[in-house]
Subunit: 471 residues, 2 copies
């Protein structure tokens, strides 16, 4: 008979609620605790319909827990980036030359509610809302919470604690402040912040701009993006430097400045945002940070997963997908230990999980920062544009032979993030240098160009490996 | 007439005392505050004669403040690494093929005392010892201290604060906890810790092993090093994993285990260390960490320098040298601002300094971690040994044409650390791959090999630049 554990999961966001569902499906007794009110009962923040990009790695996690089909009903496919220039002209840059490769816009609260509903239906899951985690007793797998509705303090314990309480994780802070073991930690902020604005539905309830794309207005340092919602609206996000620029969060302090800036940079978007200035000043400005840490576990009692272990910037659309993939990898390791009758060997399980997973969450964190720069430069660099054009042609013409870095990360869930990073960066370097050196002349057929790129890529990977294997 | 400022310098270690001296030479009023007792008056920790490697960048900083010649009297030149194998056989691997390129072993307290003496002689320097910094009021350039001798609390203020209080900096912690601006921060620990042991002088007062070398006993994961002291002793440092190894700090818990381990791995060293086990258990085990942060300054009132801004692991022998180079770079910027009549534009000065300097302290931090791996592998990798042999031949035969990564970092103070990193890594990659691919056959003359390496290095630098310039 298999041993079942009492698992205390702290944080009932996307990662925590999927994890709770899966741990319950594995037969464990799960208590899922969340500091916020139950988002299925409380009214959401007005005007903030936050959405996310769901792609293949995330779908794999949902499939594992049997909720993929239900989630897909909340999805709006986005086949590419709709690039808007300063004059309002647009062109669609497809994510892939393969037609079955697209990403999905999905509502964060919508998906979270779905996962909470599914978890709640399990007889071995207990949900507790309005419980703010104050401290974790790492050595004893217990945590003290403040109940926001009654102001009481309560202590909950389990055989283990899984910390899925997001980028600002209290569980992680307990590790950082613990001081009895060496805890590596980094928080790296970009020079930019973000602000959400909405494009409401059209008067007939339809969409004010093309629905099946992720819209981008790239402007060098600044960038606007928009993702569609099921109700006909779009959620727009402005990425802008905090300071040291003519237009930045430090200087956009009046309605006039906001309108001057948007009219100059994003005239076609302004028409779609009737509440621009009101929302600009009422919505918060969020920071963009990367968080890494290690170890993820302590005393074989507590493990961090999701953003609590590895918060990343949003520029690859992989934050939620990486967290769901955490659940897949963790589940695979549980399955393996279970098959060996070691389902309660938590210390070893946690270390095996981190050894298998950390290189990949480090990789997607670095890729996401890379893409911050790439997306900004999309219009600025002719060399980069030539690369994208060539890659799209490769993927359309040779769908089984070529995968861009973006495709490797987004649509190839059987390749790890770290492999995607190494191969993707090598391909990028090969193409950029071959173009720059004039080694892909027009006289070459597309197939000859592909052969040249593949050969150069292999050489770069080989040369890197010779150096890396010494380390 | 030039404007003079009141400068509060927190931390009177090597960086703080050199900085105090230099700021006083520039005419500022300096208060230099230190949490420890005056090390010129209190007895040092028995048996802990800590020494450091002083090389060209550090000497440049000492020269700037007119203390190079006095410091050189404390130096013992080390011309190379004396490698000890398991049987006690040794060979000297020179740091450079050029005879004038060597590093120096110098006593940390000896150099610190010299710098404090020089600073104290300045009429515009006030020294305060036994003042532990508790909090810094970043917006007002004042700090609260606990006086350890009287238990009083005292607040000191200046026009600006320079924080040179080392890797565990209180000034930096005030920035981390401040929360009114985004503070990027990382602490990364190696899996290894270190422990100091001593080789006492011989009975006739001489040295028990060769004096003019940095001794190394590389053993893969473990490593022992020894640096000479003026009194005939050597300070030995053991680098060992904390755990997950047959011999590690977790398992070396008895005298028997310690002797078993040292007799097996370092038999020729054991003979030189009569107090091995006593010292092993009485001396502390230190962690090895890298600290990076940004911004280094806040409100134009407070700036971090030295280890407080960028603590690094000791494997390039550059910690002190990087801190002294900070003083050189800061002084150059002060000179420039002063020539423009802007000697009090501290906010701009601090930002200019960080913009000029941070890429270089990031680079030496990364190089030091690289070298941790390189030093361990010195005996393990035939490919690496072939590379070192070839580089030493290049430097001996063509001293004006070739500089190894180690030489670029250590002996070429006019090249920045970041340039040394890019060029040094490219050279390493070129040589390793050319050897691995059999492209440097014995039939080549040394000059032909050098030409091949230089050409390959330039190609690597070019290919990297094409990618980097897009970012």
């Amino acid at each position: 008979m298999k041993e079942k554990s009492n698992i205390l999961i702290i944080g009932a966001g996307l990662c925590g609620s999927l994890l709770a569902l899966r741990m319950a499906q594995r037969g464990h007794e799960v208590t899922l605790v969340e500091k916020r009110p139950d988002l299925r009962k409380e009214t959401q923040d007005a005007g903030r319909s936050i959405n996310l990009a769901l792609s293949d790695r995330g779908l794999k996690g949902l499939r594992l827990a049997g909720v993929e089909e239900a989630a897909k009903k909340l999805c709006i496919p986005m086949h590419g980036r709709m690039i808007h220039d300063r004059k309002g002209a647009t062109f669609l840059s497809k994510y892939s030359g393969r037609t079955n490769e697209y990403i999905n816009s999905i509502s964060r609260p919508g998906l979270n509610m779905l996962l909470l509903d599914k978890a709640e239906k399990m007889p071995n899951v207990t949900l507790k809302f309005n419980h703010g985690c104050k401290t974790v007793d790492l050595e004893n797998a217990s945590a003290t919470f403040k109940k926001y509705d009654t102001n009481e303090e309560v202590t909950l314990a389990g055989d283990i604690i899984l910390g899925t309480d997001g980028a600002g994780s209290s569980v992680r802070k307990s590790m950082f402040n613990h001081k009895k073991f060496l805890f590596s930690f980094s928080q790296e902020w970009l020079t930019h912040g973000y602000k959400e604005i909405s494009i409401p539905p059209a008067e007939d309830g339809g969409y004010r701009t093309y629905i099946n794309a992720l819209h981008i207005w790239p402007r060098g340092e600044d960038m606007l993006i928009a993702l569609p919602n099921l109700d006909g609206s779009f959620t727009v996000t402005l990425f802008l430097p905090y300071s040291n620029s003519d237009y930045c969060f430090d200087t956009l302090t009046t309605r006039e400045m906001v309108h001057e800036y948007f009219n100059k940079e994003f005239p076609d978007a302004v028409e779609l945002m009737p509440h621009l200035a009101e929302e600009f000043f009422s919505n918060p400005t969020g920071p963009l940070g990367t968080i890494k840490c290690s170890p993820w576990s302590s005393y074989g009692k507590t493990l961090l997963l999701g953003d609590a272990a590895h918060a990343i910037v949003p520029f690859y659309g992989q934050g939620m997908n990486a967290s769901f993939e955490d659940v897949v990898v963790f589940d695979e390791i549980l399955e393996k230990f279970s098959s060996e009758g070691k389902e309660s060997h938590w210390a070893e399980i946690f270390q095996t999980y981190e050894a298998a997973r950390k290189k990949d969450t480090d990789a997607i964190a670095d890729l996401a920062v890379d893409n911050f720069h790439e997306m900004k430069e999309h219009t600025a660099s002719p060399l980069f544009q030539k690369k994208r054009k060539l890659e799209t042609a490769f993927e359309a013409e040779f769908p089984e032979k070529y995968y861009s870095k973006y495709s490797l990360v987004t649509f190839n869930e059987n390749i790890t993030y770290s492999d995607a990073l190494h191969r993707g960066r090598a391909q990028d370097k090969a193409i950029l240098n071959l173009i720059d050196d004039g080694k892909l002349p027009d006289s070459f057929s597309l197939e000859e160009k592909l052969e040249k790129v593949k050969k150069e890529t292999e050489e770069i990977l080989h040369d890197d490996a010779v150096v890396r294997n010494l380390k």
